[in-house]
């Protein structure tokens, strides 16, 4: 009789929040199946019922300490929808400015702090050095630049919202403060250096991917559709339509974000709190799609800022059809987006309206529901609230980036497990490759399950009878 062993990596490290990878092995050491579990539950959709909808832009950012701005803005947009208002151009620009600060800081964190140690020091490098300190030891200037880039984005958030984490700037109908000319000039002065850092990082990742081209293309690559916001076909992170493209690049649909329920369904598996969203017309699993930087660059036709557009054109040349399916290329796409974010910041700050004091519109209207959609750093973020005639929340639906990518992360983990695991004695670097599949998507598990947590890495090898036959704890 074939005995089945279960190998667990719990929790996955250097992502935000934590999850667990389980790899099922048979007696011969061949991988039978692999799953990425999310085992936490926090329930913002439940405990916000009964609150006034106007409180949601302050409550929902608490879902996450890394991308609170995304929740803050998606929530404010949903509240605008309930009020039935279109915010002023100045408020729109200020919100987008904060959003670009968020994109830049989060992408810098993902690449420089979390993922580049694997890439630059190697998947098989000792655990003790494969972190940001190890990176600083080997590449001190690069580490410093990465930190500077993140700080740049964070300072924009702090300038507008009072603090870097859980800022408060957007309110239903607009924003609560403008930007002074001096604050604008302080940011503008840093832009040339930030562009140069982003371009240097793009050069670095291009070199890395080119050097290990074949492995990079094989690593956890899965065939899915792609989803992202676009405006006139251009990459868009704050507004626009949701576009879904097929794996080879055909546009399957493009629709108003408010209609997302007509197009997106959610599949549930008993072993994870994280749902599996899919494109309804194709059903589950065929309608599974990806979101985030790689998906956004696939969903769009162009980028409308000068230097990011040039980099995007080179990026599209990687494949014949211009669609890049390779999971490791998420890092490349992320850095092109960071450059785009810096250029958008420059464009927004060069607009005289950015210092306007026309910040808010009011309304006594209360529509029964409101939808706010934004491209968070990790992918499309949907906030949908239903309210009664007094504005009290009766129902909430949140779909976050990590949920959209759930299917792809699972399939990617399985692909890597099948390629690298050939027995029970598995080198540490293999575990790290499994984790890196997840890390490439830069998931925020705090967001996806609305949970928080931090534990050292625990790895268990368990027999089918439930007996722990091997346990490794690191960190």
């Amino acid at each position: 009789m074939t005995e089945v062993y279960k190998l667990e990596i719990n929790p996955v490290t250097r992502i935000e929040g934590h999850g667990k990878i389980t790899v099922m092995l048979d007696e011969a050491g061949e991988v039978k199946e692999a799953r990425f579990h999310v085992t936490q539950y926090r329930g913002f959709e439940v405990f916000t019922k009964g609150r006034d909808f106007r409180e949601m832009p302050v409550i929902t950012p608490r879902i996450c300490g890394i991308c609170p701005v995304s929740h803050h803005l998606a929530s404010a947009k949903a509240c605008d929808d309930i009020l039935g208002v279109t915010i002023t151009p100045a408020a729109h620009k200020l919100r987008e400015l904060m959003h670009m600060g968020q994109i830049v800081q989060s992408h810098a964190l993902s690449f420089f702090h979390l993922s580049s140690p694997d890439i630059l020091l190697g998947f098989d490098a000792p655990v003790k050095i494969r972190n940001v300190v190890g990176l600083a030891e080997r590449y001190p200037e690069l580490a410093k630049k990465g930190i500077l880039l993140r700080k740049f984005g964070q300072e924009i958030i702090k300038t507008l919202g009072g603090k870097k984490v859980h800022p408060w700037h957007s309110i239903p109908g607009g924003v609560n403060r403008s930007l002074t000319p001096q604050e604008r000039d302080n940011i503008v002065a840093q832009i040339p250096e930030m562009k140069s850092i982003a371009l240097e990082a793009i050069k670095l990742i291009k070199g890395y991917l080119e050097e290990g081209k074949e492995e990079a293309k094989e690593f956890a690559t899965v065939e899915t559709a792609y989803m992202g916001l676009v405006r006139d076909g251009n990459l868009e992170l704050y507004d626009g339509n949701i576009r879904i493209k097929a794996p080879r690049g055909r546009i399957l649909d493009e629709f108003d974000p408010k209609d997302y329920l007509k197009y997106i369904g959610e599949h549930v598996e008993p072993w994870s709190y994280l749902k599996f969203p899919f494109y309804k017309s194709l059903g589950f699993p065929h309608g599974s799609y990806r979101v985030g930087p790689l998906a956004r660059l696939n969903a769009a036709d162009n980028i409308d800022t000068p230097q990011a557009s040039k980099e995007y054109a080179l990026y599209k040349q990687i494949t014949d059809d211009g669609i890049v399916p390779y999971t490791l290329y998420y890092h490349y796409a992320r850095l092109i987006e960071a450059l785009y974010g810096i250029e958008r910041i420059e464009q927004l700050l060069s607009d005289p309206e950015i210092t306007s004091s026309d910040l808010r519109v009011t309304s006594k209207e209360i529509n029964p529901e409101g939808v706010g959609v934004i491209e968070a750093p990790r992918g499309t973020l949907i906030h949908h609230y239903w309210v009664n005639e007094s504005g009290v929340i009766t129902k909430v639906n949140l779909i976050v980036a990590t949920g959209h990518n759930n299917y792809a992360m699972n399939k990617g983990v399985e692909a890597v497990a099948k390629k690298f695991i050939k027995g029970r004695d598995i080198p540490e670097g293999v575990f790290n490759r499994l984790e890196h599949v997840i890390r490439a998507y830069d998931p925020c598990l705090s967001c996806s399950t609305h949970a928080v947590g931090k534990m050292p890495l625990k790895l268990e090898l368990i027999s089918s009878a439930g007996e722990v036959i091997k346990e490794v704890v690191r960190g």
Binding site: V132, P140, K144, K151
Partner: protein
């Protein structure tokens, strides 16, 4: 002397907020006696804090502690440490920040840690009376430490 005082902790978890509050008080005292002191406060230490140390003569970290020190507080020089608990970025220590800064070639100021023993880390924005009293003692202790070592 060019000093940065870095206070960290969750100001919504009662005594955990002593780091942030204490940083402002220590910086105010340093400015009163003629030094140039700035503050940095946050919920937690992050890698970018390493950049804040650049160009300073002295860095003072202030934090709450679950360790119950005999005097209610502890003042010690920070030594460099590459350890990072759990291999994530939520648990940076002053020693880890010092190590990171050194790796990046930042000229190292002297670094001092002021830890104040807390007793109540429940939800709330005010410090417990015990923690407040301990911080007041820590402030006096710090004044003496500073005078003995840096004046």
């Amino acid at each position: 002397m060019n000093v940065i005082v870095l206070g960290y902790g969750n100001s919504f978890r009662r005594d955990d907020g002593v780091g942030q509050r204490g940083a402002y008080v220590i910086a105010e005292w340093l400015n009163e006696i003629g030094h140039e002191a700035t503050t940095w406060v946050g919920h937690q230490l992050l890698p970018e804090v390493a950049l804040e140390l650049e160009g300073k003569d002295l860095a003072i970290f202030v934090d709450a502690s679950v360790d119950q020190y005999s005097d209610g507080y502890n003042i010690a020089e920070v030594t460099s440490s590459a350890d990072i608990d759990g291999l994530n970025l939520h648990t940076c220590t002053p020693g880890w920040i010092k190590h990171l800064a050194a790796q990046m070639g930042i000229d190292m100021p002297k670094i001092v840690m002021v830890s104040v023993s807390g007793v109540d880390f429940d939800f709330g924005e005010s410090l417990s009376c015990i923690c407040m009293e301990r911080f007041n003692k820590a402030l006096e202790g710090f004044k003496k430490y500073f005078t003995d070592n840096f004046c």
